[in-house]
C-alpha cells in the first residue's frame, strides 16, 4: 500500500517538475526542477528493486545539472536566469508532438497485454538486468565507455581555437605554454 502511494506521489512529482522546467522564469530554477524530476524517477527505480541503477541515476543527473549551470552561464549569460524568458519555439508543432508521444506511450503501457510473471526475480537484480540487456556483448559495452570519453575529449580539442602552435610557439618548444591562465603543471 505504501509502495503504491509513494509510486503515485513520485510520478506526479516528476511530471510536475518536468512541466515546471518550461514554466518557471529562471534558468537556474528550470535546471533544478529538471534535477528534481530525475531524482523522483531514480527513487522510483529504487522502489522497483533496481537499487544500483536508481541511485546511479540520481548521482549522474544531479552532477549533470550542476555542470549545466556552468554551461548556462557560459553560453547564455546570466540574463535568462533572472528575467522571464520564453525559451520555446515552434509552440504548436512541439505541443502536438509531445502530446502525441505521450498518448502513444501511455496507450502502450496500459493496453499491451504484458505477460504474467514466471518464476521468481533473480537474487542480484542488477547483474541479471545487465546480462539481459548486454548479454554476450558485455566486452564491447565495456570498451565503448572509454571510446566515448575519448571522442568527447577529441571533439573539445578540435574545437579549441588555440592549437599547439599558438600555445607552444612555432618550434613547439616554449615552456610554459602561452595560455591566458597558467595551468598547474605548466603543461
Amino acid at each position: 500500500m505504501l509502495i503504491v502511494v509513494s509510486f503515485w506521489v513520485l510520478a506526479v512529482v516528476s511530471v510536475a517538475s518536468g512541466i515546471a522546467v518550461f514554466v518557471v522564469d529562471s534558468m537556474a530554477r528550470a535546471t533544478y526542477a529538471l534535477a528534481v524530476s530525475f531524482i523522483a524517477v531514480g527513487i522510483m527505480l529504487v522502489m522497483v528493486g533496481l537499487e544500483y541503477i536508481g541511485i546511479i541515476t540520481i548521482l549522474m543527473m544531479v552532477m549533470e545539472m550542476a555542470i549545466m549551470a556552468v554551461y548556462m552561464v557560459m553560453f547564455m549569460g546570466m540574463n535568462p536566469a533572472l528575467m522571464p524568458m520564453d525559451m520555446t519555439h515552434g509552440k504548436r508543432w512541439s505541443a502536438v508532438l509531445a502530446v502525441g508521444t505521450f498518448v502513444l506511450l501511455a496507450a502502450g503501457a496500459l493496453l499491451i497485454p504484458w505477460p504474467a510473471r514466471v518464476g521468481a526475480p533473480a537474487v542480484d537484480l542488477t547483474a541479471s538486468l545487465g546480462e539481459a540487456i548486454m548479454g554476450p556483448k558485455m566486452l564491447a559495452m565495456l570498451t565503448i565507455s572509454p571510446v566515448l570519453f575519448a571522442t568527447i575529449i577529441a571533439g573539445l580539442v578540435i574545437v579549441n581555437p588555440r592549437g599547439r602552435y599558438d600555445r607552444w610557439g612555432d618550434d613547439l618548444k616554449r615552456r610554459p605554454p602561452n595560455d591566458p591562465m597558467r595551468g598547474g603543471l605548466g603543461q
Binding site: 544500483y52 548521482l59 544531479v62 552532477m63 550542476a66 555542470i67 552561464v73 597558467r182 603543471l185
Partner: protein, 311 residues
C-alpha cells in the same frame, strides 16, 4: 572478530542527526581551540567558541538581498545538514546500521554529489558577484576531484567484491585496506576535505572573494551552512573508517566504541590541517588532478584488481 551487520529499526534514525551534530560540534570545538592557541588565548575559551557562534547566529537577523532567488538560496543553505544525515545512514556503528543498502558505497557518492548542487545554489541565490564566483569556484574544484574520488571509492569495493558497506568491513578482517591501498585512502581524504569546502580546498569561501559563498548569508542560514560544512566533514571522516580503517576492528574495546574513536581521530586530523596549508587554486589544481591524481587512482584500482584476481 567483527559481528555481521544487522539493520536496526528505523525508529533509531532520530539518533543519527543528533550524533552527527554532536560530533560536528566536537570538531568545531577542536577548531576553535586551535585558533585560540594560535592567538595565545586559553584553549578552553576557544573550545567554547562554537557555542558562542551558535548563540550569535541565532540572535542575528536574516540577510535579504535584492532580487535574491530566495527559494533556491534557502534550499542550498538547509540542504547541507540533510545531506550529511543521509550520508551517515549507511555507516555501521559496530554491528548496527540504519540502512543496510546493497549499494552503500554508491549511496555515499551520490550524497556528496548533492553537495555540488547545494553549494552552487547558495552561491547563486544571493544575487551577488562574490557569492557567484564562490559557487563556480566550488564547481571547478568539484569537477577535478570527482573522478579520482569515484575511483578511490570503488577500490575497496573491488577488494571486497561488493558495494555493501558491511561486506567491505568484513573483507578487512585480515588486513586493513589503508595499508595496501594508501593512494585510494589519500585521495578519499583529500576529496572529503574538498567537498566540505575546507582547509586547502576552501577556495569557494576564501577571503580573497570576501567570504565567497558566505558573503551575504547571515543568521539562521549562515548557521545552517557552517553546521552543514562541519557535518559533511564529519560524515566523510566517519565513512573513511569502515571503508579503509577496518570498521570497528580493534582490541579490548567494543566495535561501536572503536568506530567512534577512529572517526574522532580522522576528524581531528582533518580539522588540524585547516589553517596550516595554503589554499589550492582550482584553475591550477585541474591539471594536477587530471594528469597526476587520476592516473594514480586508476593504477591503484588496477593493482588491487590484480591482487584480488590472483588470490
Amino acid at each position: 572478530m567483527t559481528e555481521p551487520i544487522v539493520q536496526v529499526s528505523p525508529g533509531w534514525a532520530v539518533l543519527a542527526p543528533l550524533g552527527l551534530l554532536l560530533f560536528a560540534l566536537a570538531g568545531a570545538g577542536l577548531n576553535g581551540a586551535l585558533v585560540a592557541r594560535s592567538v595565545g588565548r586559553p584553549l578552553r575559551s576557544g573550545a567554547r567558541a562554537p557555542i558562542a557562534e551558535v548563540a550569535r547566529l541565532l540572535r542575528q537577523r536574516r540577510q535579504v538581498t535584492i532580487a535574491a532567488d530566495v527559494l533556491l538560496w534557502r534550499i542550498g543553505a538547509g540542504g547541507l545538514v540533510v545531506v550529511a544525515t543521509l550520508k551517515i545512514l549507511v555507516i555501521p556503528l559496530g554491528p548496527w546500521t540504519l540502512a543496510d543498502l546493497d549499494v552503500g558505497v554508491v549511496w555515499f557518492n551520490t550524497m556528496d554529489v548533492m553537495i555540488w548542487a547545494l553549494f552552487w545554489l547558495v552561491g547563486w541565490g544571493a544575487n551577488s558577484a562574490h557569492a557567484l564566483v564562490g559557487g563556480y569556484r566550488f564547481l571547478s574544484l568539484a569537477v577535478s576531484y570527482e573522478l579520482p574520488l569515484m575511483f578511490a571509492l570503488i577500490t575497496p569495493a573491488v577488494a571486497a567484491r561488493s558495494l555493501r558497506v558491511g561486506d567491505v568491513v568484513a573483507a578487512q578482517q585480515d588486513l586493513w585496506f589503508v595499508i595496501w591501498m594508501p593512494v585510494a585512502f589519500l585521495i578519499f581524504c583529500g576529496s572529503v576535505i574538498a567537498f566540505s569546502s575546507w582547509g586547502p580546498f576552501a577556495t569557494a569561501v576564501g577571503s580573497d572573494i570576501a567570504g565567497g559563498l558566505l558573503t551575504d548569508v547571515s543568521g539562521v542560514d549562515r548557521l545552517l551552512i557552517l553546521t552543514g560544512r562541519y557535518a559533511v566533514l564529519t560524515a566523510g571522516a566517519a565513512f573513511a573508517v569502515p571503508l579503509f580503517l577496518g570498521g570497528g576492528a580493534g582490541p579490548l574495546l567494543p566495535d561501536w566504541l572503536w568506530m567512534i574513536v577512529k572517526t574522532a581521530l580522522v576528524l581531528a586530523a582533518f580539522v588540524a590541517i585547516r589553517y596550516r596549508v595554503p589554499t589550492i587554486r582550482p584553475d591550477r589544481f585541474a591539471e594536477v588532478a587530471w594528469i597526476i591524481v587520476l592516473p594514480a587512482a586508476l593504477l591503484q584500482v588496477l593493482v588491487v584488481a590484480i591482487i584480488v584476481m590472483g588470490s
